[in-house]
């Protein structure tokens, strides 16, 4: 076995290169990004827009329609993965020792950060993720003006690539 191996090895010596086309990197797959919408915890919206419950019903409808249309458009471009809203009524739960029920606490009104919902997109670059988040943040608010809320953009971890060394 090892004789065959060493023979193999010597025959692997590189020789003259006749030139081939350009550089290729293996990592060109799409990356998924999570766009997080916060009820609280994000910087104040640039527009200083009032909370939604102070809008007119038509303004709320227009806002929701914008979000739906946005998701539909991303499905059409093959970039949509998921969108979910979260109820603000969360609870905190933790283990409390063998044989005891978990401790449930909250909701804590003073909690700094509160996630309102998310959208997951599958895009070819971080620039594209930022571009789309910018568009989503332009959803209309009071008076049809873009609410300009801050969205948090987080890359989602991938599966490890097969070839890394």
């Amino acid at each position: 076995m090892s004789a065959a191996m060493s023979r193999t090895a010597t025959r692997f010596r590189p020789w003259g290169v006749s030139g081939q086309d350009g550089p290729h990197e293996a990592k060109e797959n799409l990356v998924k990004y999570l766009l997080l919408k916060h009820y609280r915890g994000a910087p104040a919206p640039a527009s200083g827009c009032a909370p939604m419950d102070q809008w007119t019903p038509a303004e709320i409808d227009a806002h929701i329609r914008y979000m739906k249309d946005f998701a539909t458009r991303l499905e059409g471009t093959g970039e949509f993965v998921d969108a979910q809203g979260l109820s603000p009524d969360g609870m905190f739960v933790r283990y409390d020792g063998e044989g005891r029920p978990p401790v449930v606490d909250g909701p804590f009104p003073e909690t700094k950060d509160l996630i309102a919902g998310w959208m997951v997109i599958d895009v070819e670059s971080q620039d594209r993720a930022l571009e789309l988040a910018g568009e989503l943040s332009a959803a209309p608010g009071q008076g049809g003006e873009p609410i300009c809320e801050w969205l948090e953009v987080r890359p989602i971890m991938e599966a490890p690539a097969t070839v890394t060394e």
Binding site: R13, P14, V17, S18, H24, G78, F80, V81, P160, V163
Partner: protein, 382 residues
Amino acid sequence: VNESLLREMIPAVIGVLVRRGADFASAEDAVQDALVSALHTWPEREPTDPKAWLVTAAWRKFVDRARSDSSRRGREVAVEAQPAAGPAPQADDTLALYFLCAHPSLPSASAVALTLRAVGGLTTRQIATAYLVPEATMAQRISRAKKRIAGEQLDRPGDLATVLRVLYLIFNEGYGGDLDLAAEAIRLARQLATLIDEPEVAGLLALMLLHHARRASRTGPDGRLVPLAEQDRSLWDTRLIEEGVGVLQQALSRDRLGEYQAQAAVAALHADAPTSAETDWVQIVEWYDELLRLTGSPVVRLNRAVAIGEADGPRAGLAELAALDPALPRHAAARAYLHERAGDVAAAAELYVEAARAATSVAERDHLTRQAARLRQLPRDA
């Protein structure tokens, strides 16, 4: 039903429809519909001539759709329900499909999806599941890709480099749900190698085989990453290694080196070493030199620096790394490793933590965190 046999027929069936006058996009849709029906009905009653069944079913779907389209537009149907027997399909069709699906005008992800469907014979749902997106999203990705290449003829020679890159991307995706994308990529590369006689096709096939051979040893029982040096070499598939080495040697003997052959040579040298300590790092560095000349890639430069660290000692490797952009993927991980080899444990631990922060997969992050933890458990004077 033998599903892989069914899938192998798909490109030829698309070819038959195109030869009968269907455009590629409609033909591909019709064949996909026929494939989905086959997967439903064949388990109960398998046809005696599966390919003829697929052709008939796909043609019927194509005609139905063309009819409803034309009645919507109030125009006459241009296609016959029972076509005259067309010219015999040629093996060329499949090669042409590889080129078309990996057309350089397509974004990589679209080319990947279209290749898996039209050449690989996978359903949209299988592809969507493998890439963790909704089926509707994947269907749109494929349909947009087809619109983009609508004007392309099936009989034009294509760009082999993009075909190889697409297959390599599929391979690198590894497992996707139930679907073994690495195995699928190998199947497609094997098939391509029978259709076109180019050393780089063989080089890519060899590269895939040599990496696939190590698959069982690359992850631990809990899914943790096992680095090459610590892999249990008795788990390596010697049959695949032998095949990969054979394919590579034949390709190299033609003296038209390319990046996949050079990468495969590195993989072969790793596969060749009975133990990690017996790895021929000097020769690996030489192959990285070739690879660098071929690609100029900074990622290759980084791998070469690590190989130099093994061949000439960690300080030499670190000196090479120092000349590279620290923003390169795995730069901190490489530095951490070489610092550890140089005996600088404290710095190595810091760098592993930094590398873990930059990791893009959970498995890699956990691996790097574990490395930092391991070093920090060592006695202070070790």
